[in-house]
């Protein structure tokens, strides 16, 4: 069970300074002020969209059918990935604050999911928690949670209330009958690629814990033929994680609120090339 509260706290408090700027083509006045916010790594960018929309209302004409979307380095941001994942993927090691362009026109509906209400975010979030529990406990914990527990998770995340969130989340992170998770819910992200997701058991046939090293080698054999290669970095919450860490521990402590362990694999040379 996740009992290292300090670690959970640290992760919860991760923030990224983001400078939101209005897309040039959409400004109806000169020099609209940017909107600078400290954004939680664990949230979804569309959860703070209301605030941003309010800020830019006086600098642009927003129609009823307009839908806000965000862009970084020319790419539409997939808002259904947590902010921390988007940042690590697009901006790791680059100068802060993170500059994100805000659009209200020409929503790229072929690239990103629509998000017309917070219910959409909640649905995406809950389906992810559910899938994670299928992987960890064959869905047994979710089956025993009530509607009010679901709400508590979601409200805890939405209103940034650590205690409220963890009251329910610790049940989802428990080992049933002291068994390790059946599979580790994880996704690996790489720049300009689809994310990778596989079934991976946290222990081997002898019951010994398996490490991040084993997971990388099995999931991305082309990159991690040598699982200790220094050519690539593996980031979780922006932190380069030691590869001999047991994946069960990572899953319990470093999973995002959607109960998935989101990892970014980046070439180490990325920045010197730029």
């Amino acid at each position: 069970m996740a009992d290292d509260r300090e670690i959970l706290r640290e992760i919860w408090e991760g923030r990224i300074p983001v400078c939101f700027v209005l897309a040039d083509a959409e400004c109806s006045t000169e020099n609209p002020e940017p909107c600078v916010l400290m954004v939680s790594r664990l949230t979804y960018i569309t959860l703070i969209a209301e605030k941003i929309e309010k800020h830019f209302r006086k600098f642009t004409a927003i129609d009823e059918q307009d839908e806000v979307w965000f862009e970084s380095n020319g790419q539409a941001l997939k808002w259904h990935y947590p902010v921390g994942v988007l940042f690590d993927l697009h901006m790791h090691d680059k100068p802060l604050p993170w500059r994100v362009t805000v659009h209200f026109k020409n929503f790229p509906e072929d690239e990103i999911l629509h998000c017309k209400s917070k219910e959409v975010i909640e649905a995406i979030y809950m389906s992810s928690v559910k899938e994670a529990d299928i992987l960890k406990h064959r869905g047994q914990v979710m089956n025993n949670l009530q509607q009010k527990d679901h709400k508590q998770l979601w409200t805890g995340l939405q209103s940034d209330k650590f205690d409220q969130f963890w009251t329910t989340n610790r049940r989802l992170m428990e080992r049933l009958n002291n068994d390790p998770f059946k599979f580790i819910p994880f996704k690996i992200f790489q720049p300009d690629k689809l994310h990778t997701q596989r079934l991976f058991k946290p222990v081997n046939d002898e019951g010994e814990p398996r490490t991040l090293r084993a997971l990388l080698k099995e999931t991305l054999p082309d990159i991690f033929a040598d699982p200790d290669t220094k050519d690539y970095k593996v980031l979780i919450h922006g932190i380069e994680t030691p590869r001999d860490t047991p994946v069960q521990w990572l899953s319990e402590h470093l999973s995002y609120p959607d109960n998935f362990l989101h990892m970014c694999v980046l070439p180490s040379q990325l920045n010197s090339e730029l």
Binding site: L113, S117, K130, I134, G139
Partner: protein, 225 residues
């Protein structure tokens, strides 16, 4: 290990190839595709260019989809689209863009269906995308509205765990998804001891929700092998 109501990826592959073979004979348009993810080739089943005549709310076209959230009011005007289309044809009225009463017009919508095996749930998952004659995607509200009357009660209570937009796991683009979380339970009750084609059995029970009907000839595949 296969839990009750689940299907292993290997069996899934056999099933979809069987569907493709029969479909070729029947000219039903199903085909097996393969998409490479990392070092794996992931096979899946698709059917493209399915045209459906659907009533599209004129209001929604004006961008008002916010108000149709929690009270279920959008679900009131559900009609059987095929029936509608037939009637219109009989009346010799052009179907596309035909004005109609109750703030709706009938539009030709193009659907594409993808069936992908989910490793997490160990069941097939139905993804689909649909666009209107102007090339715009159907909105989630429009997709909910086309669900036949018999499923509307469930939709009213569980819309957010029934059909929503999700990222296509192989293409990375937005698709609509029929949620897989109850598939195993459904299949346990539908075909507890069936040794036939799992995907056909499953698809005949969930397909109609989104306008997908398998011809009766496919039922033969459901008999014990």
């Amino acid at each position: 290990m296969e839990g009750a109501g689940e299907v292993e990826r290997v069996t899934f592959l056999t099933d979809i190839m069987e569907i493709e073979r029969l479909s070729k004979r029947l000219k039903e348009g199903w085909e097996v595709r393969s998409h490479t993810v990392g070092t794996d080739a992931v096979p899946y089943l698709i059917k493209r260019n399915v045209m459906r005549q659907l009533p599209i709310s004129l209001e929604a076209a004006d961008g008002d989809s916010h108000g149709s959230g929690s009270d279920g009011s959008i679900l009131c005007n559900v009609t059987d689209s095929r029936h509608d289309a037939c009637q219109l044809e009989e009346l010799d009225v052009p179907v596309t863009g035909a004005p109609s009463v109750e703030g709706h017009r009938i539009e030709s919508c193009q659907f594409e269906y993808h069936i992908i095996h989910s490793a997490s749930y160990n069941v097939p998952v139905l993804y689909f995308t649909a666009c209107k004659s102007d090339g715009k995607l159907l909105t989630l509200e429009e997709v909910w509205r086309q669900v036949p009357g018999s499923y509307q009660e469930r939709l009213r209570h569980q819309r957010w765990t029934f059909i929503t937009q999700q990222e296509h796991p192989l293409l990375g683009r937005p698709f609509f998804q029929l949620h897989p979380c109850r598939t195993a339970d459904l299949m346990k009750s539908v075909a507890p001891i069936s040794k036939g084609n799992y995907v056909v059995t499953w698809l005949s029970s969930v397909g109609p929700v989104v306008g997908l009907e398998l011809p009766l000839a496919f039922a033969n595949l459901c008999q014990a092998r």
